[in-house]
Amino acid sequence: MASPLLSVSNLRKTYGSGPSAFEALKGLDLDIAAGESIAIIGKSGSGKSTLMHLLALLDRPTSGTITLDGTDTSRLSAKQLNETRNSTFGFVFQQFFLNARASVLDNVTLPLRIAGVPRRERTARGLAALSQLELDDKFANKANDLSGGQKQRVVIARALINQPRVIFADEPTGNLDTATGAVVEDILFDLNRRRGINLVLVTHDEDLASRCDRSIYIRDGLLAAHAAVAA
């Protein structure tokens, strides 16, 4: 197995301090290989969201290391962390977090705007990302005017626009009906298979988890079991 894209060792995260301190993660080890799709499963309060936030470099661990592509992320400056999240990661959340009044295109190109890409290039890449998700005819619409499934596709287009290596998805189908959810799932796994983008899914949904290369169960801040699924 090649050196993992993301590697976590003895990861701990404590919220608060003193007697009220809450240990969300209690020493967790995990390797994620390049191109792998992985589901993080656990009850609420198990620490799965905390793990995803740490992996996505949205938060810093209390102790332990997270290595991204061979680099110890604790050594990165705030600026480098911002750049890494912007260029390496894509985010899909249960809620869409779309700017309802802005156009679909403006929503999709937000990461490029943050990265400081010129407008002309933003528009071209935004339209390309939308056409991949068959939304290119909607680019001028207000985000508010779209259906739930269309909105989640816009969110995926937004996550894709920077050609990320990892897409973090927190309950990506949680807000969608089964049929629409299935379409969104297909899109995500298709991206994983065809373009080798890593998927890190946080979910309650066992069916969704079973489509991943691997599922990990988190219980009380520790890894409970690995359930390898034939790819």
Binding site: H53, A56, L58, D59, A78, K79, N82, E83, T84, R85, N86, S87, F91, F93, Q95, F97, N99, R101, A102, L110, P111, R113, I114, A115, G116, P118
Partner: protein, 426 residues
């Protein structure tokens, strides 16, 4: 995120909640409008005074008086036999200048010429056996130009007695139009030192338009002044005839302000006070400036209230956009950029409010100027509310500065938001 995108985004964000932003803009508008208007008033009046000084064109003459012995801080002042009343608030006195003083002043370095100002009190003016009207005589300073409705300035070197009459005397004296009046002869009467009323004749050479300084009376030439003065002092004690309240000193104005100041200092050492026309107008200007400053103070209070409105508006915006800010931070937007987004949004509100306020003030200034033109017809050339680009820019920039300051607190809150808890915010 590039600067241009930050500004663009801030602009769009500012108007996402239109009603709320409009109300805040309105508050800024009121402050900026008031400030521009009060500023414009100061500019207008001061500019008029400056223009008047320029048109009068006597920047090389100063008025010299003798310094009175300083009054004791408490108790009555000692009687000074040389003390005489001078122009100014009732009770203002100065020590009279004698011929010796005139010689002393003439000997001071930098004084080109000195002319005692002869105060003449006339009884009336009359034309062709018509009604008799009171008239005062302005002292005419060489080089001064009176705004004329008709005719010419008095000829100072002429030997015949000449007079420039204010326009307001034409109708009472039945002189007809300004053009008709020129060339006519009027009779001036005064009471001499023995208490007898005597008259003399003078030719009207010009008719003066109403102005702002010392144009209330008629302007005589030297020949007329001398004649009247001689008449006035006839029978008066010798001493009385050689006592003057003040003297006009001409000097080299081209030598610059420092040379003028040096001359004033030398006069001061010799025991005299010299004040140029600018000095005298400077007092008026200072009073106007003080009034404008107080008015501006009120406008600034309004702007501070508007600034608090901006703080409020932006706090609401930050609250509303918590999740959006969280998302942008998750996507790699730095805290500094988040701060800029919100502070520029505040500046946008300030800019829109102040720009509209200034424009409205200019519009209102035009209207008021038109209306005031009718009320203040006695002061031709007065633009009551004038705007100069520098003060307009200062108002707009100042308001933007206040807005920037107001935006700091909300922008800091947004910048400090933690992306994870922001994303969970309901």
């Amino acid at each position: 995120m590039k600067a241009v995108d930050i500004v663009g985004t801030a602009f769009r964000n500012a108007f996402r909640s239109r009603l709320r932003t409009s109300l805040t803009v309105l508050a800024v508008f009121i402050g900026a409008f008031t400030l521009s208007l009060t500023n414009g008033l100061g500019t207008g009046v001061n500019r008029y005074l400056d223009d008047t000084v320029a048109s009068v064109g006597v920047d090389d003459v100063m008025t010299v008086t003798k310094v009175s012995e300083s009054r004791p801080a408490e108790g009555p002042a000692e009687y000074d036999p040389d003390q005489i009343a001078v122009d100014g608030p009732p009770g203002t006195t100065a020590t009279a200048l004698t011929d010796d003083d005139i010689d002393t002043i003439a000997g001071i370095d930098g004084v080109r010429g000195v002319e005692p100002v002869k105060d003449i009190t006339t009884d009336y003016v009359r034309y062709d056996d018509g009604g008799r009207y009171q008239i005062s005589l302005s002292s005419f300073v060489p080089g001064m130009k009176v705004e004329l409705a008709s005719g010419a300035q008095v000829d100072l070197d002429a030997t015949d007695r000449q007079l420039v009459l204010p326009e307001s005397y034409l109708e009472p004296l039945e002189l007809g139009t300004a053009a008709d009046a020129v060339g006519q002869t009027v009779v001036l009467a005064l009471t001499d030192g023995t208490g007898t009323q005597v008259t003399t004749e003078a030719t009207v050479v010009g008719v003066a338009e109403p102005g702002v300084i010392s144009m209330a009376g008629a302007v005589p030439n030297d020949a007329l002044t001398q004649t009247l003065y001689d008449l006035q002092t006839t029978g008066a004690p010798e001493q009385e005839a050689t006592r003057y309240a003040r003297a006009s000193v001409s000097f080299d104005a081209a030598a610059g302000d420092e040379a003028t100041q040096a001359l004033q200092d030398r006069l001061d050492e010799a025991g005299y006070t010299g004040s140029t026309l600018e000095d005298q107008l400077g007092t008026i200007t200072a009073v106007i400036d003080a009034v404008v400053l107080v008015l501006n103070g009120f406008a600034v209070i309004a702007l501070i209230a508007a600034g608090i409105g901006i703080v409020n508006t932006l706090f609401m915006a930050v609250q509303e956009r918590t999740r959006e800010v969280g998302l942008m931070k998750a996507m790699g937007l730095s805290s500094g950029r988040v701060f800029s987004l919100f502070s520029i949004e505040a500046v946008v509100i300030g800019l829109v409010g102040s720009a509209l306020g200034v424009l409205a003030a200019i519009g209102v200034g035009q209207i008021v100027g038109g209306v005031a033109g009718d009320f203040l017809a006695d002061l031709p050339g007065l633009t009551l509310i004038a705007f100069d680009p520098v003060s307009i820019a200062a108002v707009v920039l100042g308001v933007m500065g206040i807005a920037l300051l107001a935006g700091t607190l909300p922008a800091l809150r947004a910048a400090r938001q933690d992306p994870i808890s922001s994303l969970r915010h309901e």
